[in-house]
Symmetry: C2
Subunit: 200 residues, 2 copies
DNA sequence: GTCTATAGGTAGATAGAC
DNA sequence: GTCTATCTACCTATAGAC
């Protein structure tokens, strides 16, 4: 992020909002992390809600963009799955707290919030990928799976380990660094898992 | 839940805490849902924190119990996977908001909270299941997969669709009932997916 | 046990000096 | 643009009547 005050605020807000969620976040803490005065937050972003939306919309837009790029790419299916898992997990390794942030807020803000989000330009579109899966099935090149569930499986295996990270780290008794290394090796594991699950 | 005042409070607290999370929950709303006076909440459970722990510990205990039952059961692996997916998803269909509640709070309460939780009697134990997977691999009865990741895959595919439910419902534009029906048919799909992924 | 009233503290937002 | 001081509202928790 830039060195401008606005940039420092956005970076700090992203850090605190993603870690604590909207309701538990205090404007004071954002100001402290940014190293500036609390009043400045309101000078740049009139309210907590507006600041939150600046952070959330950017995160969600990035998520949608990444999904759509791969979904609509001109690539053989198996390659596409490999590219998706690899790229998506790299993004998550770089921003481990992001998926739980997005999903928590979607859960808590209610239906109207989601409806509004899906009426934007930058919404995720999985139809190209689902269509491609259907074609591969009809051509007899992969096993007959439900395309919706296949996509859901792929997203689940990529994202869930990051969302449920405290749980698994707690169960397995491992530290942050070890967990992230596990996620690194996980990419290959998930790709192979999916390939074996759908091959004829 | 019982018809006693304490029972009504616990039921209401579970409903509101799971829907809004700890920070966004108001004691007043719990009292309203329970149909009682706000002061009574403090009479029965001294503080918001204590009331929260009563709800959370119960939910987490149930989760751990279910995991451990299947993990340690005396069953062939493929049967065990089938039983786990089927039973676990049934629980989630009956309590769709529970996993995101547990996981959100684990994310937000910090490391000390998780450490404390894992030092209890009722912690989840996946070692028996992982050991059994290792034995099957050594016996050459399933493909060589990383046991940790296999278990993670299974849990991910079961739980993630419920945690990310608003997202997928928004993307797919379907209502609550349709989504739950999709989850019903998903059980078979996930079981087959795993079997194909690990078979020789 | 159950209610009303209120204390005490905190957080978002604003006003105004510099 | 940036800071200090403060207003206002809300929320947890308690005190006390019934």
């Amino acid at each position: 992020m830039e060195e401008t005050t606005e940039g420092k605020i956005l970076a700090a807000a992203k850090e605190v909002f993603t870690r604590k969620g909207f309701a538990a976040t205090r404007m004071q803490e954002i100001a402290d992390v940014a190293g500036i005065n609390k009043g400045l937050l309101h000078y740049y972003f009139r309210s907590k809600n507006k600041l939150f939306h600046a952070v959330f919309d950017e995160a969600f837009g990035q998520f949608a963009l990444r999904i759509n790029e791969v979904s609509a790419a001109d690539m053989p299916l198996l390659e596409k799955i490999e590219a998706f898992v690899s790229q998506y997990m790299d993004t998550l390794i770089a921003n481990p707290a992001l998926p739980s942030f997005v999903i928590n807020e979607l859960n808590q803000k209610g239906e109207a919030f989601v409806k509004d989000l899906m009426s934007r330009e930058k919404k995720p579109n999985l139809l190209p990928l689902i269509g491609q899966i259907q074609m591969e099935i009809q051509a007899g090149r992969i096993r007959e799976v439900n395309p919706f569930h296949l996509v859901l499986n792929m997203l689940s295996m990529c994202a869930f380990p990051f969302i449920a990270r405290p749980l698994f780290q707690g169960i397995a008794q491992i530290d942050d660094q070890t967990y992230l290394k596990l996620m690194e090796s996980r990419k290959r594991e998930v790709i192979d898992f999916i390939h074996n699950a759908i091959k004829i």
